[in-house]
Symmetry: C2
Subunit: 338 residues, 2 copies
């Protein structure tokens, strides 16, 4: 109850003074890739103008970053979920500021990635062309998929099923058309576990000499898998509505020293896809507590914040949630630094 | 000769005072999509976790923009070429400032796109899945291709053939690995002419109430095709090393009122792929001159700037070329405004 009042009060306070309007002062911005390896193929192309044989580079992760003038916080890395790209964190479907800019305005250097084989991170067309040429059986085509609006509706928890809407919904559904444009084909089922984005995140964390990994949905588990590779440069983990948390009865040692927040929106218990995942994450958070870890699980309606979908970084109250999150990070990550 | 001295002098002057180091002051930044349409499919997925049937949105063009504080110029739109994304214009392979930031620093609102079906602009996986399921013959797979390093070497004119290097080459080949990571699969052969990026550019130009379209290579023709749709909001065209110019004996009316620069790097006459294209563009520029148009064709070595590859926006002297280009725009676009 005390926690609830504290959070709700903090939220109201921060929401009352959003940082907007003033020009953004950027010390440095740019983009780069992490990882990648060369692949030789004889089916890069079926077109006469482009050679079929040659070497391409795949497996790299695109990163776009902005360092604010007078950066004052540990850098954050924003990791999108299933069927989406780094666009997740940019301008919302109804045209409001995204978290990518909000965090920069709060003094955080901000790194937005496109997962491996997504967005500006390359894919390999060799198998398609090999099948096209009759060299490879059709069933060998990689299992790439797109999520249709109708099925995605329930997954993103806009309502119980398409096109019903949960009462009090904060997602700006009047501009849902702009959201559907964000969705892209997903190659992740073509990869082993951990996804190649995970070692790339680890390499990024080392390069940055410390970062807070903020993941979402299908990428929710990535920060934990990254910490299992090397916890040293993971300054914090914020896993938003993860597809899964580490097993409560598994090896918790990699996570013990890391401030961790597992964050959930509203209507979770009404969603058959999500309710068991929340339950599984609660078990993880409980096990972490017993093991002496610094893991907190927050379900927004339990602290008085209602109506949030799975895409809470784009909901109408997205910047209020971001402001609350900055408060959480200041208390749990920044205050713990040497 | 006078023109040559003028340009070389201007180039030296501008190169001597590059605008770097100071924090970048951004009035507004963000991203959005232009265009897009819904497609229904029964083969969106072959995975049990994601429904095969549903509606997806494809055909949209991703746009990321930055408006500098005190924007003083006509907005520029940066359009990447074959097998690449908007990354083309960002940080160079050797880590220097990209044109996307340079133009912002010079007072231009800057719009960087990912062509339709590239980067953050979605693709449709339906045909792959339909072939995988045996519902569609393999030869119906769309002709997607990637350019291998070896073939791309000559196309990007790093040298006559892989791995030979032209003498005086300005491309930072010591970091070529970072450049290969920028390359992605290209879907453009799956589209009719004009490419769907063209009407999206037209819609963007109208939305911006005027923009200078800066295109490259395979997209070199797009600004002309966009002007043919509606010339009204095309404030200028800079076509860098286009795959082709409009036909000299075609309808030139759409281009007559637009300040146009067709810009070429070095070694063009040594490249069998490019020499005929330069020749064809010279014929176009000559026809435009006769028709009373404002078209200029510049081959950099002819104005004393040597060693530029096809990727001149990433060459070592990329910012000097950008500075020269700003001078050209100030003289030919800005000075002509009401």
């Amino acid at each position: 109850m005390i926690a609830k009042v504290f959070y709700a009060g903090l939220l109201a306070l921060l929401a009352a003074a959003p940082a907007v309007a003033e020009p953004l002062s950027i010390e440095k911005q740019g983009s780069f890739f992490i990882g990648g390896h060369d692949v030789k193929s004889d089916t890069l192309s079926t077109l006469p103008a482009y050679a079929p044989s040659g070497t391409i580079t795949v497996g790299q992760m695109y990163v776009r970053y902005q360092i604010p003038a007078g950066a004052s916080h540990t850098p954050v890395t924003l990791i999108h979920g299933c069927c989406l790209t780094g666009k997740t964190w940019e301008t919302t479907p109804d045209g409001r500021m995204g978290w990518d800019e909000y965090f920069v305005r709060q003094g955080f250097s901000t790194y937005v990635i496109d997962q491996v084989a997504r967005g500006r991170s390359a894919t390999d067309p060799s198998t398609f062309n090999s099948v096209k040429l009759g060299k490879t059986p059709p069933d060998q085509i990689p299992p790439i998929f797109s999520a249709g609006h109708e099925a995605a509706w329930a997954i993103f928890r806009f309502g119980p099923e398409y096109p019903q809407v949960f009462e009090g919904m904060q997602f700006p559904l009047e501009t849902q058309g702009e959201f559907w444009k964000q969705m892209v084909s997903d190659w992740n089922a073509t990869f082993p576990t951990p996804n190649p984005t995970v070692p790339a995140l680890s390499e990024l964390a080392i390069k940055l000499k410390g970062t807070i990994l903020i993941s979402h949905s299908a990428s929710g588990i990535y920060p934990f898998q990254t910490a299992a590779l090397s916890a040293q440069d993971i300054a914090g983990i914020v896993s938003i509505e993860p597809g899964g948390c580490p097993a409560a009865d598994g090896d918790l040692k990699p996570y013990i020293q890391i401030p961790i927040l597992v964050l959930w929106g509203d209507y979770v218990d009404l969603a058959p896809r999500w309710a068991p995942r929340l339950k599984q994450c609660r078990a993880f958070a409980e096990a972490m507590k017993k093991a002496g870890g610094k893991t907190e699980l927050v379900v927004l309606p339990e602290i008085g914040v209602k109506g949030n979908s799975h895409m809470l970084m784009q909901d109408r109250n997205s910047l209020e949630i971001a402001a609350w999150l900055v408060g959480w990070l200041n208390k749990n990550v920044e205050a713990k630094k040497n």
